[in-house]
C-alpha cells in the first residue's frame, strides 16, 4: 500500500482543481463530459472512494467491459457447468465465478448438487492441490485479462515440469485491446475519454493502446488505482478534451512502461495463442481471446474434456451487454435491484465484486 497516496488532503486539494476543470469541460462540450473507466477495479475504486458522488453534476463516469467475469459469454458458463458435471472433475476457480449464472445453472448451484468446486487465489496453488489429489482431474478456469494470464501460463509450466498429469486449464481468457477497438467502432458509443486499465498496461505497455488516440481520436489516460491516481487521470483527460493534444497518455508511470513486461508477454505467447472468442454483450470478436497452444494441448481442458452445450439464450431483459458497452448505467437496466440482485443475479455484472451492477448495488 502506498500510504502517501492516500493522504486525504492531497486528494481533496486535487479534487478542487478537478471540479473547476470539469465545469470548464462541460461548458466546452455543452454538457457534462462522459468518461469511461474500462477496468472493473477502477469501477470499484471510484465507488469506494465516493468519487462519483463528488463529481455529480459536472462529470459522468461510466463503466466499461473491464470485468473479466462479466464479459464471459453465457455459453462458456454453460460449458463450465457441463465440465463440473463430469465424473471425477474438480473445478478450480477464482471466487468470483462461483455465482455467475449460465442459462441453466451456476457453479454455486452445481456445488450444492455435489460437484467438486474449490476456490483458489493463485493457479500455482491449484497445481499443488492437483499433485496432492492425483485421483481427481483438476480443471482451472482461466478467466481474466492480460493481468492474470501470465500466472495461469506459469501454472501450465509448473504442471509440466512437475509432471502433474491431472491438471488442466479451461481457457476463456480475453485481451483488452481488441475489445477496445470493437467498442470504439460502435457508432452509438457516446463518450469523451477513456480511463485505461493500469494493471493490464503493466503487462501490455502503454504502446499497446496507442491506437485509441491515434486511430480513433479518443482521449485516453492510463490510470493507477488509488483515488488520487483516478483523480489525476480524470484531470489529464479533461485537459486533453479542452486543450488537446489527444493522445494515449501514461498516468501511471510508476508501474507502466512503454513496452510493458517483456517476460510476462513471452510467457503468455509460449503457452497461449490468439483465438476468436465471444464476449458477453459484444458477440464474436476476432483474435480477442487466448486458447492453450497446440503443443500444450495435454493441459488444455477444452481438448481433454470436450463438452457440447445447446445454443440457449440468456435471460430476458438482462441488459449486461449495454452496461458493458457503457450505453447505460446499471440503475437504467429494468432488472437492476429488483429481479436482479447479488443474491439472485440474472447477469454476471451483478455477481463479480468488480462488476458494475454489483458495485452500484453495494456502494452507490
Amino acid at each position: 500500500m502506498q500510504t502517501e497516496l492516500r493522504a486525504p488532503m492531497l486528494g481533496r486539494q486535487m479534487l478542487l482543481k478537478l471540479t473547476s476543470l470539469a465545469q470548464k469541460a462541460a461548458r466546452h462540450l455543452g454538457r457534462p463530459a462522459i468518461l469511461m473507466e474500462v477496468c472493473g477495479t477502477h469501477t470499484m475504486a471510484i465507488a469506494k472512494s465516493g468519487l462519483r458522488s463528488l463529481l455529480d453534476g459536472c462529470l459522468e463516469l461510466r463503466s466499461g467491459p473491464g470485468c473479466p467475469v462479466c464479459v464471459t459469454d453465457h455459453k462458456d458458463i454453460d460449458k463450465i457447468i457441463a465440465l463440473a458435471r463430469q465424473h471425477n472433475v474438480m473445478i478450480a476457480t477464482f471466487g468470483d465465478m462461483l455465482r455467475v449464472p449460465g442459462t441453466i445453472s451456476s457453479l454455486e448451484q452445481e456445488r450444492a448438487r455435489g460437484a467438486q468446486i474449490e476456490i483458489f487465489y493463485s493457479p500455482l496453488e491449484a497445481v499443488t492441490f492437483a499433485a496432492g489429489h492425483d485421483q481427481k482431474e483438476v480443471v482451472f478456469l482461466g478467466v481474466g485479462f492480460e493481468t492474470t494470464i501470465p500466472g495461469i501460463a506459469l501454472s501450465i509450466a509448473a504442471a509440466k515440469s512437475r509432471n502433474i498429469p491431472n491438471y488442466s486449464v479451461f481457457s476463456v481468457h480475453k485481451l483488452v485491446p481488441p475489445v477496445m477497438e470493437t467498442l470504439l467502432h460502435d457508432p452509438e458509443l457516446n463518450i469523451d475519454g477513456l480511463i485505461l486499465p493500469g494493471h493490464v498496461c503493466t503487462i501490455t505497455g502503454r504502446s499497446a493502446f496507442d491506437f485509441v488516440a491515434a486511430k480513433y481520436g479518443m482521449p485516453a489516460v492510463i490510470a493507477g488505482f488509488e483515488p488520487v491516481d483516478i483523480v489525476k487521470a480524470v484531470y489529464l483527460l479533461l485537459k486533453q478534451i479542452i486543450d488537446g493534444p489527444i493522445r494515449t497518455a501514461n498516468g501511471y508511470p510508476r508501474l507502466v512502461r512503454e513496452e510493458g513486461n517483456r517476460n510476462a508477454k513471452e510467457i503468455m505467447k509460449e503457452y497461449f495463442e490468439p483465438a476468436d472468442v465471444c464476449w458477453r454483450g459484444f458477440g464474436l470478436i476476432p483474435q480477442s481471446g487466448l486458447a492453450v497452444q497446440k503443443k500444450y494441448s495435454f493441459f488444455d481442458a477444452a481438448v481433454r474434456f470436450p463438452v457440447e452445450v445447446p445454443e440457449l439464450l440468456p435471460a430476458d431483459g438482462c441488459a449486461c451487454g449495454d452496461v458493458l458497452k457503457g450505453k447505460i448505467t446499471p440503475p437504467q437496466c429494468p432488472l437492476f435491484a429488483g429481479v436482479c440482485t447479488p443474491l439472485r443475479p440474472v447477469g454476471p455484472c451483478m455477481v463479480s465484486s468488480e462488476g458494475a451492477c454489483a458495485v452500484y448495488y453495494h456502494y452507490e
Binding site: 500500500m1 486525504p8 465516493g50 476456490i119 496453488e125 483515488p227
Partner: protein
Amino acid sequence: MTPGECLIDVIQGSELMFNQNNDELILLAHGDGGMLTHQLLRDYFLRYFHNPLLDTLTDASVFRSENGRMAIATDAFVVDPIFFPGGDIGKLAVCGTINDLAVSGAEPLYLTASFIIEEGFSLADLEKIIASMSQTCREAGVQIIAGDTKVVGRGQVDKVYITTTGVGYLLSEANLGYQRLEPGDRVLVNGSLGDHGLTILLQRETLGMESPLVSDCAPLGRTIKNLLSRFKGIKFMRDLTRGGLATNAKEIALASGMDFWLDEATLPVKDSVKGITEFLGLDPLYLANEGKFLVIVAAQEANALLKFLKDEMFAGEACLIGDIQAGQGNVYLKTALGGTRKLNMMAGAPLPRIC
C-alpha cells in the same frame, strides 16, 4: 497403478493404522446412549464442565430465579477449520452465545451445549475443544448446565458441530432499544474490524497465504456489564459477527429508521487486514468479528465511554466512528476523499464458513 500411486496408498494405510493404535476415535456407539456415551460424558464433558447443576445428570437443570427480566439466546457453530489462530470451535461456541446475551443488556449465567460429532473424530481433538470451552466459561463467569451428544456416520457432518443456548438476567441498568436512538447519538466500536473473518479465510489451504493475524474471538460479558453500570446513555449495542460492521449497521438503521453517518478515516482496521483484503478484493467492513461490538450512546457520554474502553477495558483500538442522524434507514460512509458512499447488507460473499 504407477509406483507413485502405490506409495501414496501405503502412506495412507499406515496413517490409518497409526490412528487405530494411538489415537482414540469417536465411534457411532459413543452416541447410542449406552456405556460408551456415559464414559464420554464422565471422562470428557463432566470432567471439564462439572458443577452441581450439571452433575445431577437429570433431563433438565433446575435453578433459582428472582423477579426480573431474563434473556435467552442460541447459536449453532460449524466453523471450518475447527482450530484456528486465536481460538477454536469450542471457544467460539461459548463466546458467540455469551456475546449475544451481553449486547442485549443481560448478564450471561448459564449455557447449554449440544454436540453433533462425526464418527471417527479424534477424542483428543474433542478434549481440546471441551477444555477450551471450559476455560472460556471460567473467564466469562458462566457455567454449562445441560447438554447433549449425538454421533452421526462418517460424512454426515464435518468433524463436529456445536449448538449453545444461553440465559441471563437483564441488568437493571440496561435500557436498550432501537426506539431510543436519537439524532446526534454517537457510534463506537471496541476495536479493529475484520480480524476473525479474515483469519478463518486465510486458513483455507487453497488460498496459500500466511499471516500473523489471529481471531478476535473473546467473551464480552464483563466489559459490557462494566459499561452499562457506568454509562446510562448507552442506547443500543450489537456484536459485529456475520456480515460485519456494514451489514449490522444497516440492520439497525432499517429497524430504527435512522441514518448512520460513519467516517471512513476513523474506522479501526489493522494494516495487515487492509493490505490482505485489498489483495483479495474483500471489504473488511463486511468481514465477521467475534469479539467486537458497536455501541450507540448519547453524545455527552461518548468521549468518557471511549476513554473508559481504552483505559479500563484494554480496548486500545476502540474508536468513535460516526453518529446517528434523522433519515430513512441508510448507512453512509464519508470517504477519505470527502465523498460519500452507501453501505448495504452483505449479499453472499464467497467465503468459507466463518462461525
